[in-house]
């Protein structure tokens, strides 16, 4: 029974591969938490590293990360949504649409280190922004743009034709329809795109190393909070990389735990919104 034997061997391989992949994931999570969790404390989360006192803290990096996420989204979300609206609602199919869709796809395939190089010479040198959170955010905006555009496009596609034709039939203008009907209906999809983008920003390092730099101080005055945008600032992930290079493994693992917690949260949020989209679709189908 050679046939049976061959079947069993292959089936075994399939199970082995699956359990290997699963074991890997659980192993990674457990390892990071075990190594990192003991080093997390209130002090660690709320102060900055001080050479004088010999203490380690990541408050500055947390603030930098928040700046980075907010700034990037402020730039990328309107552009991404606008681009999706243009592609789905205004543009006529043809060369231009194909060009835009092709470049959007290309953009999503470019590795982050290339974005880093480009951000460094274009935003940093040509536009004179230097190593700053703004430079980093502009660079990351380009990187997450395809995510937002594509998710918004998909969400817009699922809005039933009858909604818009109904509104236009009543004499509503196109922009009015987009604002009051299309965008609200597409909201869960758009939010999913945004959450995915946040996840990407949180985990990014190569694109930021040469654009946003590695500063880790908190601003000291009110004006400083604004000025911070044009100062160098390292996100949590950058700090993780640097700690690793300096062999500060405890700090590194503690940051890794914080990051994993955030990623986990993002994933749960995404699932929540995707489920929301699916229920919305289901109710539509049921209503017809």
């Amino acid at each position: 029974m050679m046939r049976k034997l061959k079947d069993d061997v292959l089936l075994c391989l399939i199970y082995l591969a699956a359990f290997f992949a699963e074991f890997l994931l659980i192993g990674i999570l457990v390892y990071v938490f075990v190594k990192g969790f003991p080093h997390i404390s209130l002090h660690f989360l709320t102060t900055v590293t001080s050479v004088l006192e010999g203490t380690v803290g990541i408050a500055g990096n947390i603030v930098n990360t928040i700046y980075m996420v907010v700034l990037t989204l402020v730039i990328a979300v309107p552009v991404g949504i606008g681009s999706a609206i243009y592609l789905n609602e205004y543009a006529r199919p043809g060369k231009i649409v194909r060009l835009i869709e092709f470049t959007t796809q290309t953009l999503s395939g470019i590795p982050s280190i290339i974005f880093g190089l480009f951000g460094m010479v274009f935003f940093g040198v040509t536009l004179g922004l230097g190593y700053s959170i703004l430079t980093g955010a502009l660079t990351l905006s380009l990187m997450v743009l395809p995510l937002i555009t594509r998710n918004t496009q998909e969400a817009l596609k699922t809005v039933p034709e009858s909604y818009t034709s109904g509104a236009i039939g009543m004499g509503a203008g196109k922009w009015y329809v987009i604002r009051t009907i299309l965008l609200p209906s597409a909201m869960p999809g758009i939010v999913t795109g945004i959450i995915l983008a946040v996840g990407r920003i949180l985990g990014e390092s190569a694109a930021l190393l040469f654009t946003a730099g590695s500063g880790y101080f908190l601003p000291r005055s009110l004006g400083g909070w604004f000025h911070k945008m044009v100062e160098s600032g390292g996100t949590l992930t950058i700090q993780l990389y640097l700690s690793m290079e300096k062999a500060q493994y405890d700090t590194a693992f503690a940051i890794a735990v914080v990051l994993l917690g955030m990623v986990l949260g993002m994933n749960l949020l995404t699932r929540f919104f995707i489920r929301k989209i699916e229920t919305a679709k289901f109710t539509d189908a049921g209503g017809e």
Partner: protein, 285 residues
């Protein structure tokens, strides 16, 4: 107004291309393209500086190839498990786990590789090269470590895209195969996987793209000296060359790093081209 937004992507791709060429080409003129691409001596800060990146290119090619060779079968088999063999409840547990694996920042993979993989590699190295007089010990930071980290990193991409492709195969095809007396395993390998091949190919190409472009994770585990890509040698990839030297490089050295970026960019563009070729072929059916 909206069209302006839409053209951001076009403008970005064009200006990135332009900048990569503008910054990467001068060094090629200055050093000579034969010298850069086909010389293996990399001594950028020596008095008589030499900028050969042949080994760096080779490392990226070999490293990516090995990572794909290792990661794709495991990923594909896991996808088969999820799509064909796993009971529904188990698949429902594993699928989000795979998504999580995809969302973990690449630096964390590097950290784990450095803390877990490198010591193992060092043990292995000490055993294998115990009597060797010529081997340079790396402490485990070598090509093999980088390959394993890359293979793990491309797993989620390969798994989720292959699984979607396998699920899209019409059930009637599987039924026909079973009705001809094929076993379920034979059906998977002879009908389902071939029928899903364009999707699986897409997964592989995306995996290649991710492996070629990954920088931070492998910069922590690969040792970072310019060497021929042999399993137990400390090596430097295109990406890690940029990461580790851009911080202090100046003058011609810096320009050569941009040339490395340009080479990487060309690789990625070729991969993108292949990908859109596959997608187009799929659409035409």
């Amino acid at each position: 107004m909206f069209s302006l937004c839409a053209f951001t992507a076009v403008a970005a791709v064009f200006s990135i291309t332009l900048y990569m060429i503008a910054n990467g080409v001068p060094a090629i003129w200055q050093v000579g393209w034969k010298e850069i691409l086909f010389s293996s001596v990399w001594q950028p800060v020596a008095r008589d500086a030499s900028f050969g990146i042949l080994y760096v290119i080779l490392t990226s090619v070999v490293g990516t190839f090995l990572a794909v060779l290792l990661g794709v079968p495991i990923g594909l088999f896991t996808a088969v498990f999820l799509a064909e063999a796993a009971p529904a409840w188990l698949a429902a547990v594993i699928r989000p786990a795979v998504e999580l694996l995809a969302g973990i920042p690449s630096v964390i993979y590097g950290v784990l590789g450095m803390m877990i993989l490198n010591p193992w590699m060092y043990c292995l190295e000490q055993m294998l090269f115990a009597d060797s007089l010529t081997h340079q010990f790396t402490g485990g930071a070598n090509l093999l470590s980088a390959v394993i980290v890359l293979a793990v990193m491309i797993l989620p991409t390969v798994i989720s895209i292959s699984e979607a492709a396998l699920r899209a195969v019409p059930p009637e095809l599987k039924a026909s195969s079973l009705a001809l007396g094929a076993s379920s395993v034979e059906t998977i390998f002879r009908v389902t996987i071939p029928a899903a091949r364009s999707g699986i190919l897409t997964a592989v190409v995306l995996g290649v793209g991710r492996a070629v472009g990954e920088a931070m994770a492998i910069s922590l585990v690969s040792g970072n000296s310019v060497n021929l890509p042999l399993p137990f040698c400390s090596v430097r990839f295109l990406t890690t060359a940029i990461v580790s030297e851009m911080g202090y490089a100046g003058g011609l050295h810096r320009q050569v790093l941009f040339t490395i970026g340009l080479v990487l960019f060309v690789f990625i563009m070729v991969i993108n081209g292949i990908l859109s070729g596959i997608l187009k072929g799929e659409r035409q059916g």
